[in-house]
Every structure is written in C-alpha cells, then in structure tokens.
Amino acid sequence: MMTSRERWLAMLSGERPDRIPTDYWATDEVTARLLQEFRCADKEALYTRLNIDGVYDVKPVRTCDHHPDDPQADIWGLRRKAINYGAGSYDEFDNHPLEQIESVEQIHAYRWPRPEDHDFGRFTHDMAAAPRHRVVRVGDYEPFLLYCALRGMELAMMDLKIEPEIVDAALEHIFQYHYSLNARLFEMAHGRADITYVAEDLGGQTSLLFGLPEIRKYLLPRQKKMADLARSFGVHVFYHTDGAAREIIPDLLSVTGIEILNPIQWRCPGMEREGLVRDFGGRVIFHGAVDNQFTLPFGTVQDVRNEVLDNIRIFSGSRWICAPCHNLQPVTPTANIVTLYETIHENGIL
C-alpha cells in the first residue's frame, strides 16, 4: 500500500497510484468539531481516521509579523476583524492601506514587506520534521487577491481598466516578495517541497471575474515565472481558481504550466466535469470536484455518495484527487463529510 505522499507523487509523475488520492480543506471550526467528535488529538489522527491523504504545510515564520507603520496590521499593512456569522466566524479585512494612492511613485514608496524577515533556521527545522508520508506544500502566491485587500476590491478591479501602471507596479512588488522568498525556501527544502500553491480567483459564479486581456497582461507572466521557479527545484504547481474559469484553463496549462487544477466547481458554466476531462484530462490533475455550495452542506448522505461515485466514473481515464471544492463550512453535517471520505475509500481503488 502506498503512503499518501507516494499516492500523490505517483499521480504527478503520470503513474498509476494504488487508489485515488484524497485531500481535506475545511474551516478551523469544522476541523475542531471533527477532532472533538472523533476524539482525534490532531489533524494527523483525523486524516488517519478518515483515510485522507492530506497535505502538510510548512510555512516560514517571520521575524517580524506586523507592518512597520502599524503594529495592529499584518506585514502587508492589513488589519482584520472577526465577523461572526452564527455558525462560525471569518476574519475580514478592516482597512485598505492603498486605497488613497494615486500614483506609481506612491506604490513604490509604500513600505512593502521584506522576504528576508523570516526565521530560516526554524524553517529548516520544520522541514526536517515534516512527516515523510505526507505531501509537503511550501509557498503560496495569490497576488491579485492580496491587491484587492490592499486597495479595496472595487478600486482594484477598476484599476485593471483605468490605472494600469498602479496595478502593475503593486503586483510586481507582491511578486518580488514571494518570488525571492520561495526561491530561498525551495532551495532550503533540499527537494523535500513537493507542491507550491499558485492561485488567483479568476472565475465568479457564472463567468470570469475579469477579461482575458487583463488576466494575460497582469497575472499570467508572473505566474509563469513563479511556476518556472518551482519547476527548477522539482516542485509541482498546484493552481487554485474558484468559479467559472473554463476560458482561462488553456492559458494556465500552456503559459503558466500548472499540474494540478483546483477546485473544479462543476456547477459553474463551462466547468462541467465531462467537458473538462475531454478537453484537458490528459494535461492536468483535477483536484476537488465534490460540490461545497450545495451537495456537501445541504445534500443528503446519498447525494454526497452519488456525487463521489459520479466523480469516480467521470474522472476515470484522467487524474483526479478527491476533495471538497474549497473549505468545508460549519453548516456541513458531519455525516456528509464522513460519507465523502468513506465513499472514496470504498470505491477509489485503481
């Protein structure tokens, strides 16, 4: 029997794993609830309990974890406030430090974080302690999402049309930070970093959020550089884009060069699973595809079971890692979560 890591790596190298790999994405509230209900001491025990081939994240610890001008803000200058929605809470951004900016000069003058402000000794130690049977993730890069937080989402979106130099300058600062950091982390990982997270939410519920020209101009070139960097160290590129992102997938494959595509929100127009398999099945690993907007939170256990079985059938002949489409939310019944992982475990032998 393969380990979880062997399973993922087999799929990444184009070999046949022993069974369909699985993954786990959930809010902290859901994880805490499951740990309690299953009397698991930690996530590793939960993964063992539910046969989850979950990823192990190694994040470098910063030597200074706040912005130099604002001790209440993170390294980017962003403050957060917890918003309670009843079943749980989300940290939402409470300020937009770049919202008043009117020039590229002001972008350059902003105090951006420094990649060297990390405890790299601690990172080395944490990498050495990473479990050998788990896929290890190092690095995450989601630049436009960060820009939206810094600028305010509406301004950020408008900038794509009317302030090209401002948005480009800011994205370049964000890129340089992550690129420098990742280069150092990948090198220090000595081949032990298996995947890196490259992301951008390009799709909304029914269409792309912004047009192909903007994506190709502002996002793809830097994504490619980040992906090339990862590949130079043997690190595989895990790409996340929510929503109806069908139109950009060819570019993600041929320009960015992604290996895993997440989360496959198949209810969105253009993201139908059969079509994705037909058009891209030979070129990418699909990750996710268990619907998290309707089936998992509001469906019956039979609905969940049927969807997992449908996915097994639809993705057969291509490569698929079974996971929820984004974080399991607190409204999701435990029975549905268990059914997801039990069904794939019972039926996922390859």
Binding site: E92, M157, Q293, P297
Partner: protein, 211 residues
Amino acid sequence: MEDLKKLYDAILTGNFKIARETTQQALAAGIDPQALVQQQMIPAMDEVGRRYEANEYFVPELLISARAMKASLELIRPLLAAKGAEPAGRVAIGTVKGDLHDIGKNLVAAMLEGAGFEVIDLGVDVSPEKFITAVNERHATLVAMSALLTTTMNSMKTTVEAIKAAGVRQKVKIMIGGAPVTQKYADEIGADGYSNNANAAVALARKLVAA
C-alpha cells in the same frame, strides 16, 4: 443628439469625466434631465448589462460604467427630485446579517440606479430590522438581499420571516441573489424572485414592480 450620444458612450466606456462634462453641458443647454435618464443613461446601462451577460464585459467594466453613470446621475438627481419625478421603483438593498461581501450587491445597486430605480443601499451585515425600517420609513417597495456564503444564506430566510412578522410583507417584493443562492432557495423561503447576475436583477426588479 450627437452631443447627447457622448453621454451614452461615456457611460458605456466608463469615462466618468466625459459623463460628468457632457451632463453639465446638456443641463446648461436646457435638456430635460428626465430625457437624459430615459434616452441616454438607461439605454447605456442596459447595453452594459447586455454585454455583461454576453461575457463581453466583466466586473471591472461594470464598475467603471457604473461610476460614469453615477457621475452623471449626481448632477441629474436633484433636478429630478425638484420636479417630483418618480423613480421606477424604490429598492432597499443590502448584504445580509453576518456577511460582509458587497461587490455583487454594489453592482446590482449600480445597475438598478442606472435603470432608474431609487436605491437605498443599506450596506453589509444588514439585520432584518434595518430592511424593515427601510420599508416603513423610506417606503421601499422592493427588498433586495445578497449573500455570498452558504453559512450566511440563512439570514435571507430570517429576514423574510421578520418582514412577515412585522406585518409589511404585502408592501414589498423580495428578491435575492448571490453565489450560493438559487431559485429553489428563493422559493423555499418565500422570496418573490432570484437572479444570478446584476443584469438579470434589473430585469427581475422591473418585472416585480410591474406586477
């Protein structure tokens, strides 16, 4: 009409400076503000909406067009109010309790304004009581609710129930939207309609006020 077409074009292309200038010039020349709204602004925003549904325009284009439209409307609105012009409808719109996501709601609000509705934007994290206050004190005849999360959708149901309990359900039509929302959910909670994008929301609002 050549000059007036500049307003249509300015809104369509999202040029708020030209939209404002053209409106100032038109009003100074004695053009009826209602004519500007009906013959330029609303058709321009209708075309923006059409292009959005056709995947020719996306969120950035909608936002800059809305900004241009608002730049024009800012100058026109006081004149319409002075004339006692009635809006197409009066909409209280908000993102529901517990949810802070507002870009979808803001797009719908802008499109409704561009379609001639008076929009009472209640913001985000809106309690049922605030919607009810908008109905009672500001005479909203449409309530439009947005939610982005499966975990906050339930606030739509509690708001509908609160509106009923407050005895004002017959005074308003209720429409809902947002990523996890569906027609089925709208039917379940007793809303009058659901739309899955900003342009469809305008069509729905027009239909509901005409009913």
